[in-house]
């Protein structure tokens, strides 16, 4: 039985490889000519999302095989495992319950985590009292002055999600808090913090230390700098910590040890991965900027996507469809790059966010059982605002020698034309249409190339080869719900991909060794006698640092 299953999977992989050989010789345009109802089969419609993936180089037959492969890996069971709290993160022996972070209070918790739903709501409640206090100008610093600036200190998952959402929600009504500014600091070299501290005042600044382990080195170097700045002139450190530092972590002991006062602590759980954590207290900066109601709307949107993912049939299931497209392109078409191209300035951080989400999750070469994977796994994901990238790397997409598959993402409705809206809205509306037109034009040229040029003898320098596959995701409007749904969509896509590749998306062992080695390297920078164990290259680099540092001193 098992052997039969393995055999079936092997033969499907072989079929798909054969399909890819054909596809590589085929023009995407041919698919439109031969398949009359292509859009019917290559588009998905769910709530405020519409996906057109007809411009992928996938025939109807291939799509059928991909769906068959999906059912061979028993995706329904794997989705069930995720939502029922099984230890899907097997290398760390944990569940991945990020969907519980946006579950309504009435939802039944997974069997092994009976208190999880209530725990989450308890933290949301604690979060809301902090948020309300700050937003109503009642959080005070050590001199009794009201807090005017909030600085989030965190890196990776503790920063990217909140940063994305804070940026993306700018146009919502009633808009952001007027009495507080929210800032983000992550870089370990001090660039951001030193610039920020020049503008801030000790008396009126509140810091959020966001770190799941509460030991993240990058973050704590920034924390140390900030604490020195805050206590300058012999101010009472306990008083300063009590009124100016919030901690968000899964490690209560470490927060106590550092001196975050009890009422300033917000808890995470080990079952939330950093890159899946913006729905937890890690989202505090979002809630401070826009209010708890907006934060809840984001959670609701993500929860709606959770329900869609666990209930919809595979062929109309957005996360599954996106995953199959990426699976096909990376593993069979051997395309190594995936560009994320939002045509809405509010989503300019989305490519960055997705780089972390997908590459940290699925940049793996070992299967769940510890063997070498059968496929090429996560492609390189990068991107920028589409309209800006048109003036940058689109040249390579159109005429370079690399194959790249693209994700176009755009909102459709933007800028009210109500009577009471801003005077310039009419003009802004034209800009929105221009942006949509560019989005659609670029994906057409990428797919169909020269077919838009009427003459037959095309100058080779002005020739477009076309055949770069892409999908276009339309968002009705960028509301907090839609943003929540969009992020959850990519979370689930990432999970489905990991199932297709048979890898664990919830660990990130690859980032550990560099951290360990940096400790001894730091020692070696200070102490020349501790360099023996390093390679020639590192020793040379260290010696050059010695030379320039000492000449600077003179």
């Amino acid at each position: 039985m098992l052997n039969q299953k393995v055999y079936k999977m092997e033969s499907l992989i072989k079929i798909l490889n054969d399909e890819a050989v054909i596809a590589k010789k085929r023009n995407i345009r041919d698919l439109f000519l031969s398949e009359t109802e292509r859009l019917k089969n290559f588009s998905v419609d769910f709530d405020n999302f519409k996906l057109d993936f007809s411009k992928q180089n996938i025939s109807q037959e291939t799509w059928g095989y991909l769906l068959e492969y999906l059912s061979e890996i028993n995706i329904q069971k794997k989705i069930y495992d995720l939502f029922s709290g099984k230890n899907v993160n097997i290398t760390e022996n944990r569940s991945a319950l990020h969907f519980i972070l946006r579950a309504p209070k009435s939802q039944k918790p997974p069997k092994d985590y009976p208190s999880s739903v209530l725990d989450v709501h308890e933290q949301l409640h604690a979060m809301s009292s902090i948020v309300n206090k700050v937003r109503s100008a009642r959080w005070r610093g050590y001199t009794g002055k009201v807090i005017k600036d909030v600085v989030s200190l965190g890196v990776g998952g503790s920063e990217l999600g909140p940063l994305l959402a804070c940026d993306a929600l700018h146009e919502i009504k009633p808009g952001c808090a007027k009495n507080v500014q929210v800032h983000f600091v992550s870089s370990m070299d001090g660039t951001q913090i030193s610039q920020l501290l020049e503008r801030l005042e000790q008396e009126t600044t509140l810091f959020i230390i966001s770190s799941k382990s509460f030991t993240t080195v990058d973050t704590f170097y920034n924390v140390n700098t900030v604490l020195k700045w805050m206590t300058f002139g012999g101010k009472d450190e306990n008083l300063v910590k009590k009124h100016h530092f919030l901690g968000i972590s899964a490690n209560k002991n470490k927060m106590d040890e550092w001196g975050v006062s009890k009422e300033n602590q917000l808890m995470l759980w080990n079952w939330v991965g950093g890159r899946f954590s913006l729905w937890s207290a890690i989202g505090l900066p979002i809630a401070i900027k826009y209010g708890m109601d907006i934060f809840h709307e984001m959670l609701d949107g993500a929860h709606a996507m959770d329900l869609h993912f666990s209930n919809a049939l595979p062929e109309s299931n957005l996360p599954i469809v996106l995953a199959l497209i990426s699976f096909w392109n990376s593993s069979f078409m051997e395309i190594t790059a995936n560009a994320v191209l939002p045509y809405d300035g509010r989503l300019k951080l989305l490519p960055n966010y997705l780089s972390q989400l997908e590459m940290e999750s699925n940049g793996k070469c070992v299967s769940i059982s510890g063997e070498k994977v059968k496929f090429k796994t996560s492609p390189i994901i990068w991107g920028d605002l589409g309209p800006n990238a048109q003036h940058a790397f689109y040249q390579l997409l159109h005429q370079g020698t690399q194959d790249v598959f693209c994700d176009f993402i755009t909102t459709v409705k933007r800028y009210d034309s109500d009577l009471d809206s801003k005077l310039e809205n009419q003009a802004l509306l034209l800009q929105q249409n221009l942006s949509l037109a560019n989005c659609f034009a670029q994906s057409s040229v990428l797919a169909f190339g020269n077919s838009f040029i009427e003459t037959h003898n095309v100058n080779p320098h002005k020739s477009y080869k076309g055949n770069q596959p892409s999908s276009t995701l339309l968002l009705k409007q960028l509301t907090p719900q839609v943003l929540g749904g969009l992020i959850a969509l990519y979370e689930h896509k990432t999970y489905v991909l990991s199932c297709l590749w048979d890898i664990n998306p919830f660990d990130q062992w690859g980032v550990e060794l560099g951290k360990v080695l940096s400790e001894s390297t730091l020692e070696a920078i200070k102490n020349q006698e501790q360099r023996d164990r390093f390679d020639d290259s590192t020793r040379w680099l260290l010696s050059q640092v010695d030379i320039w540092s000492s000449s600077d001193e003179k």
């Binding site: 109503s136 009642r138 005070r140 001199t143 009794g144 002055k145 009201v146 008083l239 009590k242 009124h243």
Partner: protein, 448 residues
């Protein structure tokens, strides 16, 4: 009026020359100002009615909250003599309509005036409001428009008379204001105003007849300047406090310089009321479309908002932020002495700041709480006390927010014995710091 019967005004009213007895004046609105105007006009022998204004939804009634003993007496007098009456309905058979509008909706005021102008008879309308510069012209063009629409050659008279009555000295202000401003564009209307306020004209320090808009600017700019002066003094007090110098000595010396003068020189925990704040924002609006707007007005309000927080911060620092569960007493709630009004009073910010830090608050004010519920203003429950020392027993601090006369004679020995921690946070600089300290109390004033 003391004139004998039969005294006729000569043509001041043009064709309508008549005995003052025949004039019927309606004063609209239910505020201290409308009652004061109505009572004083009645006293001048005009047949005066006080009527529901544009914004009041409740029926008009004799209001006892104004803590103006003389005014209350005059109102009673005029009502019983029949010179003043109360009308519950919109009554437009009058010759002159004086609308005292305290609301914030220009639309509401306009609708009300259009109603008065609805019966094909030219109306004489006086408006006293502080809706900002442009109000007069806006209403004027609208009522003339209706006149044209109805193809009558109607010419309504519109006069703007800015507030010249202050709470606490209403009657005196009516008869002898330092400056009486009459704003209108027609000669007839000027005559109406001159006739109606004949006595006031005689005794006013100065009188200016200007256009409606000009009067609005004068009125708002003067108040805004005073507000600015208060914010300047407050800012200076805070800066001086940091330098460990004596603010009281400095401001006293400054006042001796005639270029600086000696009014509105008190440092305090922020100004309140309607007039100053409203004027500042009106001037801000007036210059809104200018390049940088009014930087002066923005700073004025920012400083004042911060100043309203200053007593709380002194308290917070005194207890090193350990204030949860403490119990404090506040003397004074109204935005200044001799008024019951809590509008924009610094006490609102103070109570809410204390409440959100879980501090129990007791307030004593001679009049402010007689007629309305504290919940209208405060986000946290407070206890109202009936006498000065009632709640001071075992309290952790005493705050002073209003400069009521009776607070000035505080018994420091008594306070020292009653308070658990003898500390006073004085937002009005009522006491001599050395004297308070001699009696063993901690004392924190503004700029001291």
């Amino acid at each position: 009026m003391t004139q004998q019967d039969g005294y006729y005004h000569k043509l001041i009213f043009g064709v309508l020359a008549m005995k003052s007895d025949d004039l019927r004046i309606n004063v609209y609105g239910d505020s201290l100002e409308s009652w004061a105007i109505a009572a004083c006009l009645a006293q001048s022998d005009f047949k005066t009615s006080i009527c529901k204004g544009p914004e009041s939804e409740v029926s008009i009634k004799v209001n006892q909250t104004y803590s103006e003993p003389n005014l209350d007496l005059l109102i009673d007098d005029m009502l019983s003599s029949g010179k003043l009456s109360m009308k519950q309905t919109l009554f437009n058979k009058a010759n002159i309509h004086w609308i005292v509008y305290k609301g914030k909706s220009l639309d509401q005021l306009l609708k009300f005036i259009l109603l008065l102008c609805d019966n094909s008879i030219p109306q004489k309308i006086i408006i006293t409001t502080n809706l900002g510069v442009g109000t007069h012209d806006f209403i004027s063009s609208n009522i003339q428009q209706t006149a044209i629409n109805e193809s009558f050659s109607l010419c309504h008279e519109l006069i703007t008379i800015p507030t010249f009555i202050r709470e606490g000295s209403a009657i005196k202000d009516f008869y002898s204001p330092p400056l009486l401003l009459i704003g209108t564009d027609s000669i007839e209307a000027k005559n109406t105003a001159t006739y109606l306020l004949e006595k006031t004209f005689e005794k006013a320090g100065n009188t200016r007849l200007l256009s409606g808009s000009e009067v609005e600017v004068v009125n708002n700019a003067v108040s805004a300047f005073l507000a600015m002066r208060v914010s300047f003094v407050n800012e200076l007090a805070n800066l001086i406090e940091e330098q460990q110098l004596s603010f009281s000595a400095i401001i006293e010396a400054m006042s001796c310089d005639p270029r600086f003068g000696n009014i509105y020189n008190q440092a305090g925990c922020g100004f309140g009321g309607i007039a100053l704040e409203q004027s500042v924002s009106n001037i801000q609006d007036l210059f809104k479309n200018s390049e940088s707007g009014s930087l002066m007005m923005k700073a004025t309000l920012d400083i004042n908002n911060d100043q309203k927080d200053i007593l709380f911060r002194k308290f917070w620092q005194f207890y090193n932020s350990d204030i949860s569960g403490k119990r404090v007493v506040i003397w004074g709630a109204s935005f200044r002495a001799n008024t019951a009004s809590l509008t924009n009073s610094p006490v609102i910010n103070l109570v809410n700041a204390l409440g959100s830090e879980n501090v129990e608050v007791h307030i004593y004010d001679p009049v402010a709480f007689e007629n309305f519920a504290d919940s209208e203003y405060f986000d946290f429950p407070i206890t109202i006390t009936k006498s000065l020392y009632e709640a001071t027993e075992n309290a952790d601090a005493l705050f002073i927010v209003t400069d009521w006369e009776e607070f000035k004679a505080a018994d420091f020995v008594k306070l020292k014995n009653k308070l658990k921690k003898p500390v006073i946070f004085d937002g009005r600089n009522l006491y001599e710091p050395e004297e308070v300290k001699r009696n063993g109390l901690h004392y924190f004033g503004i700029g001291q």
